[in-house]
Symmetry: C2
Subunit: 371 residues, 2 copies
């Protein structure tokens, strides 16, 4: 039987884990609470890759009080020696009596091993406490570990009549400052941001996280790094002077045949990584691109692209979450569509489920998931 106390403790651990929402990648967000009955004696969360894991932080705060205590941790404690010693071992050494876990480690090669280590020495172990909420901390980590691909968020900023810019391409600004600040926070949550070379050529965006535009991030840790900028660019046409290339940390996916071109060599000379992938008539082979990003360790991918690339993601059902910022304006029927999508009949319509709907300044933000 799950007690209210146990839910409350795990909810606190989940809350702590969210503090790492902008900073733990490529590691998962993890929170941990150590309690004796109703009294919390230690709390911790993972802040940045290479720094202490949540359990170690909480144990350090608990000190001798950890002996005989109950541990609530959002993700199964690790069982292997990585950048830090295994957390399961640390819990054993501290003499805790019981461990509640939100979700198992999603990596099929190690799932359950941490709990096994604990059970072997007689620690009482329960898994699956608030499992859905705990899993929601790390949709990308979960998906990459199980399916080899990142969690895909497609971001659109559109008018009520479904346009993202005027026919001329002019689009600044459809949404207000509050929505743009929200997009900065969305970028900061992401491991990588994908765009197409068309957008680079037309808008010359930097696609960086600007901390001063993120607004109030509450108790979250500041972003620890810029997301990887990824460009789908068949012919390696990205101009070396593009804003997106400034500061490095860019990966260009082009056609394999373009890898040997002079342009590609110029880009490589600037320190830009280039990888050849398959291309089709209407653009990059997105499934292959997602596999490649999974191999690069990208957990959460944000797609900020023009209507062609956005259309491919939607058409091929490769969107996990559509973040649609809607401004209360009409841009007119001559404006550019949100996504190039040729659908014939009502039966072909793409259906979404509204997961979250909120006001952001004058605009509305919808988080939609495929139905």
């Amino acid at each position: 039987m799950i007690l209210d106390r146990e839910r409350a403790m795990m909810a606190r651990a989940i809350q702590l884990a969210w503090r790492g929402r902008y900073s733990t990648h490529p590691n998962p967000r993890v929170g941990c609470v150590i309690a004796r009955g109703d009294r919390i004696v230690g709390e911790g969360w993972h802040e940045r890759a290479g720094e202490a894991h949540a359990e170690v932080q909480a144990l350090s705060q608990a000190g001798h009080d950890a002996r005989g205590a109950t541990v609530y941790v959002t993700l199964e404690p690790c069982s292997h020696y990585g950048r830090t010693p295994p957390c399961a071992k640390a819990l054993i050494d501290a003499g805790v009596a019981q461990v509640f876990v939100g979700t198992l480690d999603p990596n099929p090669a190690v799932a359950g091993r941490g709990l096994e280590m604990l059970r072997e020495v007689g620690i009482k172990v329960s898994e699956g406490l608030m499992a859905d909420e705990a899993a929601r901390l790390n949709p990308g980590f979960m998906k990459r570990m199980t399916r080899g691909r990142p969690w895909v968020r497609l971001k659109m900023a559109a008018s009520l009549d479904g346009r993202t810019s005027m026919a001329s391409g002019e689009s600044q600004w459809i949404t207000g400052a509050a929505a743009r600040g929200d997009v900065q926070r969305l970028r900061a949550m992401s491991d990588a941001i994908l765009t197409g070379v068309g957008t680079v050529l037309a808008d010359d965006p930097s696609l960086t996280v600007r901390r001063d535009e993120m607004g109030d991030i509450g108790d979250a840790t500041d972003p620890s790094r810029q997301p990887l900028r990824v460009i789908a660019d068949r012919d390696a046409r990205t101009p070396p002077t593009s804003r997106i290339l400034q500061g490095g940390n860019v990966h260009i996916f082009c056609a394999s045949s373009a890898l040997s071109s002079g342009q590609a060599q110029d880009l490589a000379a600037l320190g830009i990584s280039l990888t050849g992938v398959a291309w089709r008539d209407n653009g990059v082979d997105v499934p292959e691109l997602l596999d490649a990003l999974g191999e690069l360790g990208i957990n959460e991918l944000l797609v900020e692209a023009g209507p062609t690339l956005a259309g491919t993601f939607v058409r091929e059902n490769l969107v996990d979450e559509l973040w649609l910022y809607q401004a209360p304006v009409f841009l007119g029927s001559t404006g550019r569509p949100t996504a190039h999508l040729a659908l014939e009949t009502m039966a072909d319509k793409i259906q979404w489920r509204v997961q979250d709907r909120r006001q952001v300044g004058d605009d509305q933000r919808l988080i939609l998931v495929p139905r």
Copy 2:
């Protein structure tokens, strides 16, 4: 000083008035409360044109208790002999001591006369109590009396990508049953429904109010009649077999030159009213059409039209409220736009203020007003 009691009484009168939302046209919605201190002794609301006015209903309920009582009425009592004797006279005859009024009669020819009649016999009179809320009962009556034109509500049912149908014209159903029921209630509130002949030819809609599809209307009185169906049809092409013509109560606005055509004569023979108005390159002269509808006594006009006519209303800033039903679907970039609107630059964008936003089944309903 306005007391809480007075606000509460007027709020009740406004609530009563709303019961007539589907049934009073072409008369305004009016509610009345008669009280002695905190005790309500009579309540009334106008139900249907030709039946008792709100004040008379309330006086009849109050009986002898009306003597020396306070009256709260949402609209200035009438001062003229129409289908019923003037309500101001009825209040005087009943011996009430004080009258609170929400809004003055908007008709400039009679505004203030009812209050004057009351004042002349020594009744204490206050106007403007909850004036905004009281005026909102009758936006069309107010606008027609002051500006000679109906209040214009433009209804659209669109996808998140701003499409109202597939390229083929197929559009059934974008929104769900709950939203369609809401549209039935919106139609029932309207004096007239306007569409274009293109929609008649493409979809053959009936544009009637179907009571069984209105759903729960709470304490409202059932609709008393069908709204007038109005067709903008330059060449009087509406087929005599169209569903919209069944049951009569249709008014066609065509080019004056078309009035003498055989088609127009066939329609007239069916009992359809035809009026000639000016036409421009992109359709009917909407301001002239609105003037004509004002002369027909139309208070609240619902526009359910295709993208051309809808675009004219938006472009010429003739929309008082845009009712946008948004389904959580994409219909694709080949679908038809909500409104034909050729805008060049971001500076031309049409800006709306969100007055109301709510979930209706799986869909969202936005009520937008021009900013």
